[in-house]
Amino acid sequence: MSITPEERLDVSMTINGRRYRATVEARRTLADFIREDAQLPGTKLGCEHGVCGACTVLLDDLPARSCLTLAVQAEGRHIRTVESLADGHELNPLQRAFREQHGLQCGFCTAGFLMTATALLEENASPSREDIVETVAGSLCRCTGYQTIVSAIEQAVAEGQIDTKGDDQ
């Protein structure tokens, strides 16, 4: 066995095109790495055991719950968070659609919905309403009743200008 199990490990990953490096406990979740080590608090933690979807990020372009992934599992990988969507204060079309359709109220779940929807739209530029409903079923929102979230994603689809993967240099 050339390597030994460690309780603290060096980990480095790319988040939104920038390299982050830290020495973390093995038990540190990717969500905590993003929020605390990388100081990107846009990703929210709700239940911390994989039920609510608030912490969804893109891990090598695929949607993943950052509370169900260890930071050390993301070693060397590319992460995108909600901070990658807007260009400065300029919202991207999906974010704008959420605002225009009232797809958020308190906003706690929004980052997760946005990243889940981003993954969907990057894979399928014209999802049906049913596809959208099924995709967002993995996230909980206690404010909106979901209809406005689905409508927002539909609006973004109709506008057809989703930025894909433009942030990762």
């Binding site: 390597i3 406990e25 038990r27 169900l68 260890l70 993995g138």
Partner: protein, 283 residues
């Protein structure tokens, strides 16, 4: 941060993974983590070491071996969902995979993890039992295979030894009559009842039928009484109704906040009826 402390290692070879797992009684395998991480977060599990399989070569492939497919333990639900060879050779897997949680989970969770976890509500254990799959495992004592009938022995309990790693699942592609049925409160939730049925259609009859039930009965098991009814008789609606009655009579379903025992008994009966009808249509 909610998980308890543990040590972590991501070996680069299967031999190293086996050695790490065997070196500590409380070491556990980490694959996609979609079941293990919630257990850690709720502190229902406290492993000393997690042996991450992500860099172990050879566990991420789907190989067509003619009469069966050999699927690596680390193949994700998402990869199964998008696999052309699975859609063609084992459409029951493609049909069932969309019931597994949500895209964020399916991109991480793996066939091997879900199978080794042996959650009676998991789709794969019920389906692998109905397909008569063969599990491939490795330990310091060498490699061995375990038939699905010998593998799932109780809720969250398989016959994998503590120091064994599930490496592949060999799934027969010859059982071309199939049906998978699931009842859940909403799609992606844990099922209240799962039924998988398969067989080999020949001249209008079904050879070697296998019917498995999950979720509703607390563990994954076959419905021998239903299989007996289906074996080598012409398949008609009467058979489907008889099968439903036989299924209801042969199970002792669990009761919980999501559904009491009688409700689940009716669910299983309905799912068996639907499954048998679908089998007949496919035969």
């Amino acid at each position: 941060m909610k998980p308890p402390k543990f040590r972590y290692v991501a070996p680069r070879t299967l031999d190293d993974a086996v050695a790490h797992l065997a070196s500590d009684l409380d070491a556990k395998v980490l694959s996609g983590g979609q079941s293990l991480m919630p257990l850690l977060a709720m502190r229902l599990a406290a492993p000393s070491v997690l042996v991450d399989l992500q860099h172990v070569p050879g566990l991420g492939n789907i190989e067509d071996e003619g009469t069966s497919l050999l699927i690596g333990a680390r193949v994700t639900h998402r990869e199964i969902e998008r696999s052309a060879v699975i859609a063609e050779r084992l459409p029951i897997l493609s049909s069932a995979v969309v019931h597994i949680a949500h895209p964020q989970i399916r991109s991480r969770g793996t066939l091997g993890g879900s199978t080794a976890h042996a959650d009676p509500s998991g789709e794969w254990p019920t389906i692998l039992l109905a397909l008569g799959a063969t599990m491939h495992a490795v330990s310091p004592r060498g490699r061995r295979t375990i038939e699905a009938d010998e593998f799932f022995v109780g809720p969250f309990t398989s016959t994998l030894a503590e120091d064994e790693i599930l490496t592949h699942v060999s799934v027969p592609a010859t059982r071309t009559a199939w049906s998978f049925q699931e009842a859940a409160v909403k799609k992606g939730d844990y099922g209240l009842a799962l039924v998988a049925a398969t067989g080999i259609p020949r001249d209008g009859v079904l050879l070697d039928p296998r019917v498995a039930v999950g979720a509703a009965v607390g563990s994954v098991r076959r419905l021998a009484e239903v299989e007996r009814l289906l074996a080598e008789v012409p398949m008609t609606d009467v058979t489907a109704d008889e099968a439903a009655v036989a299924a209801a009579a042969s199970i002792d379903p669990i009761s919980d906040i999501h559904g009491n025992s009688e409700y689940r008994r009716k669910l299983v009966a309905s799912l068996v009826r639907r499954a048998v009808r679908e089998l007949r249509n496919g035969a």
